[in-house]
Symmetry: C2
Subunit: 470 residues, 2 copies
């Protein structure tokens, strides 16, 4: 049995068996535990990936559509997410709300989500129920029936969702404004949930129009992980999804792109509910699918070293050593179809200002841009990532998501599985190079959440809290 | 003869005759000199306004289309302006370039312009040539013939135009970025000339598609000022524009709108070519067509008092009294279909920083927001505006533009002519009210043009030039 042919349960045993070796969490090892994934394509264009995992008689079933909020027509923000909600209403065969009730009756769980680049519907269920579930999912792919009254009621639901998630959350409000500044022309600047004033106008016709343009087998990816073989899934998929006609109207994903960034942008948002002041810094960066070879993996490691956890440079300098911040961190978001994003944050400790922490944050970034990172930091970061990857590979749901996220933005199964190997090739020079290239202030938006109006958003930053200035 | 019935030449005499009266430049007087404007609508939907002016045997002829850059499809920025250029190519009847050559041969001049809300083609010519000109303009309204090679050559022209107007002009680059931040969702955030990377992809098909959607008599306004009667123009228009069929595909102007502004935005743009540092501040504000009754006229007067010329508050405080700025000023742009804009700027005097002038500028605005303006300031500003209005009314071209700008965004002739009267009604309380309401920092974008990278765009504002901080 080749290493590629190990089943998921053997893979886990392999992890245990290699703990005594020199490099138990090496990229090569991580690569070696890639599950035995099968792929096929139905005649109607639907792509399918199957990840066998025989440890328990359950399956995770996901259908990913190659459409997200960034594909919405202008002025119709929120329609992708709104449609995701409406997909739980009636079809020709099922009364409204019956989809989730049936899944629950069958002992399963279901949910869905919408991102800028994808909309996915997923369930976990006993393997014997898989085909019934696939038939239901195939049904709502094209047979949705929306009653006007139901659409209006559900619109109130998404409006309330925006209210609770965004309007009642000062940090989310700032994030929304920073994304608008980060992506002045690309639709990534429009919030996934939608602008309130546009959501309030969304109609049944908008939802059905979007549905017809984007929901069809030739715009969908089936991902099944669990106690099934590729052949079993293929047979079931042909009997269910295979009966759905190819959609003739699938729109090409043509998003506008941004001009080259020329100047750093800043946003001060004052909100009494904020509690503590917070500094945030976003940079646009490449994603797995837009990056030059190896750059995205180098960015993964850069941000792990710079900003992830209490051993990161940022945390050590600002919180542990200088004691000017009570928290600091960040991450690199690499899954986007058109762009990735670097996000950093810091919360001033009592007696210190946002200016203090911003200066210190910029000093840490400059330190990395000019001095690079150490081999020890790189090794530790890589090991941490590989460990996360290996442990995550133990989750049926996480595996299904891993392949789904990759395929929905155009990666192949091989691309998805090459990540540990690519990560293994990154050198300290690579990390320094991507830091120099992408932590460029011109690419950035700096946001400040200010709990008090007296923090003087109206005035230049240098008028704030002079007493604490270093 | 009623005052409304005076001809343009009599109106000018009237100005002379009333100089001795108490209020020669009163709003009532300005209103009284409104030319005797005639209006009609052709059967195909084309609206026409005629402004007789018999002083010389010439006419100004304009055709305004209710389409501008803000109506462009996403990803096709610059197509409105590109099409304006291409309108000087061939039609069924005229070879490429022949339009302007013919106008010149007839002793006339011609040009065109594109704004966010309008595209207009205009000529000045001897009255005897008017009908021939109208026939040519009617021809190119629907009979444009574009050769692929010519489109590509002209695309190089607009790209070069962008290069010289924007890329070689640091102030224009900053302006472009500030507008993007000012209008995060509305298409006013996209530059009229287009983003370079999108302009480079514009095609013949894009231009013709835009043309068919927007160029037709039912989306056009004819404005003729000069030595003609309404009946003469009507007869000529029926023989020329009247033969053009109503366009069936005219798109409704549906632009996305912005969410309520919640936080001030700041942009630092470093460019060695800048020469001097400059501070700019933009605010969104209502326009003539979006404002509550009287607000736009109060904003006209507010910005005249606050920022226009060497007697303005801003200039007096920053340049004359405090001597921290070498120049300071601003204006209110009120002609937009969906939004107006307030723009202010200040240039630090030698030895003073951008922070100094920003603090001083904010102090002047706060002074007006809380203390209002004086009756003397209001009277002086109003008189200055009325004088400009009256003197401008002496220009055939300016009159044609005045009515064209109003009508193309949906104003009526009566709306256009009521401006002096509305201006006359504004009180100091009104000015204070609009200052308080619209000079709200949350609505603003502050831009700083920095000639040196050492001005540290990467660092918070308070790290700059500490030696000069007050």
């Amino acid at each position: 049995m080749s290493t590629r042919a190990v089943t998921k349960s053997l893979a886990v045993l392999t992890i245990g068996a290699t703990v005594m070796l020199a490099s138990p969490l090496s990229p090569a090892h991580a690569q070696s535990i890639a599950p035995q994934v099968g792929e096929f394509r139905l005649a109607n264009g639907m792509h399918a990936v199957v990840i066998p995992d025989r440890r328990a008689p359950v399956v995770t079933h996901m259908v990913w559509y190659r459409v997200g909020a960034a594909d919405e027509p202008r002025g119709k923000s929120g329609i992708a997410h709104f449609l995701e909600h409406l997909m739980f209403k009636a079809t020709e065969k099922l009364p409204s709300g019956e989809f989730s009730k049936t899944v629950a009756r069958l002992g399963g769980q279901d949910n869905a989500f919408t991102s800028q680049d994808a909309t996915a519907y997923h369930q976990q269920i006993a393997k014997e129920r898989l085909e019934q579930l696939m038939a239901m999912e195939a049904d709502r792919m094209v047979n949705l029936r929306l009653a006007e009254a139901e659409v209006l009621t559900e619109r109130d639901v998404i409006i309330e969702e925006r209210r609770s998630r965004i309007e009642n959350n000062p940090g989310s409000i700032l994030d929304e404004q920073m994304n608008q500044a980060l992506y002045p022309n690309h639709t990534y600047g429009v919030p996934v949930i939608g602008f309130m004033h546009e959501m309030a106008q969304l109609s049944r016709a908008d939802a059905l129009g979007f549905y017809k343009q984007h929901y069809a087998p030739n715009n969908a990816i089936l991902v099944v992980s669990g106690d099934v073989t590729v052949d079993e899934v293929k047979a079931m998929a042909e009997r269910t999804y295979g009966t759905v006609a190819t959609g003739p109207q699938i729109a090409v994903r043509a998003r506008p792109s941004d001009p080259p960034p020329l100047a750093p942008r800043r946003i001060d948002y004052v909100d009494a509910r904020a509690g503590k002041p917070v500094l945030r810094r976003y940079y646009t960066a490449p994603s797995y699918v837009t990056a030059a070879k190896g750059e995205a993996e180098a960015l993964d490691l850069l941000l792990k070293i710079a900003s992830s956890g209490s051993t990161s440079r940022l945390y050590r300098r600002l919180v542990v050593e200088q004691k000017i911040a009570s928290n600091a961190g960040g991450y690199y978001q690499a899954s986007g179809l058109d762009s990735g994003k670097i996000a950093l944050y810091a919360v001033p400790a009592d007696g210190h200002t946002l200016d203090d922490v911003e200066r210190a944050l910029d000093a840490v970034l400059e330190e990395i841009r000019t001095g690079g990172v150490t081999q020890a930091e790189l090794d530790r970061a890589r090991k941490s990532y590989i460990a996360d990857y290996v442990y995550e590979s133990d989750s049926q749901v996480a595996l299904a998501r891993r392949y789904g996220w990759g395929l929905v933005v155009g990666q192949t199964v091989a691309d998805v599985e090459s990540w540990p190997t690519n990560l293994g090739k990154v050198t300290t020079a690579d990390v320094k190079a991507v830091a120099g290239r992408w932590l460029d202030i011109k690419r950035s938006v700096t946001g400040r959440l200010l709990p008090e109006a007296s923090a003087a958003a109206a005035k230049p930053a240098n008028q704030q809290a002079p007493a604490n200035r270093s």
